[in-house]
Symmetry: C2
Subunit: 208 residues, 2 copies
Amino acid sequence: MLIAFFNTVKRLYKGGIMKIQNIDKITNCRHLNLYEISYINQKGIEKSWHIASRADKPKCVTGQFDMPDAVVIVPFHKKKDKLVIIKEFRVPLGGYQYGFPAGLVDEGEKIQQTCIRELKEETGLNITRIKKISPPVYSSSGMTDESVSMVYVECDGKPSNKGNEDSEDITTIFISPPEASELCKDSKIKLDVKTWLVLSSFAESGRV
Amino acid sequence: MLIAFFNTVKRLYKGGIMKIQNIDKITNCRHLNLYEISYINQKGIEKSWHIASRADKPKCVTGQFDMPDAVVIVPFHKKKDKLVIIKEFRVPLGGYQYGFPAGLVDEGEKIQQTCIRELKEETGLNITRIKKISPPVYSSSGMTDESVSMVYVECDGKPSNKGNEDSEDITTIFISPPEASELCKDSKIKLDVKTWLVLSSFAESGRV
């Protein structure tokens, strides 16, 4: 209560709370666009901030924060007793990155359905149990409104590339805690930050 | 070895490996821009992919993957025996987000310097020990080349807003494992994905 009171005093003293004024779409691309947001800072001065968004209208316009743009799947292969990651060509990095299977949630699709579909398409593996689904959480809120749900699953089956699209170049890899430890220290490879965090914890505790 | 061989055969069968052809900058903004990358997919067909980048030339052009764009600081306050997070107004989300202190690495700055500067500016706290620095890892490689280093530190001092900029509206919060558990389940708040992952692990193990 006391902290909340002091924060209110601080904001009044500074001239007010931050406020979004206007949003302009400044590109017209299919999957990703740049927007200029004008806002009032705590001194009452109008400023602008550029963001990238996958949505036709960014979430700060629609207020639709309840569904994630994408799922990030953390698959544990019970029979192999290993975590599953993929090595995938990522066009934005111009090379291969190690990361978890992931994909955009299609229109009208439930999170569970996206996970079953994407894990099958990218690795050929089958989900046997969904253990935990995170709320939508934000990828990099300084530059985008993109959100993902982290989904922890158990899976079985053998890896296959049959479901890969023509722009997907994917190798499925099974990871033990010592192998996770090696990957996390390797500065020569490219690794997704979420994968680095889960693998670091898996390397230390042996659990996900 | 055998897997590598089969992957090579698979790629030859599909018509070749993925290859970047050309990159066009399609906006001219100060802090963030949109680029169109044309590439050859595995069927030999030219396709395009849009990415957002903070750099004047994206990393897939410069090949400069060795320095992160930003640091994400995981601060543990020894005297309070709690993790430190911030509640901050994020313009791209049009509201408050819970996350770790973070900031862009300035030109010529060392990662350690960025961490000391940013933690002080955003929270008023002082770093007493840097425990671990991750290699540059990628925020969301389907849409951007942005990379961050995760930096685990110990800190002391009292929270202060004196170092905040006019566009920073920040409250510093100390978190115990049970409080971390509550935050991670709360679908009404906005939480950064890296923070969600570290807090989930902290809630379970009591350690970072």
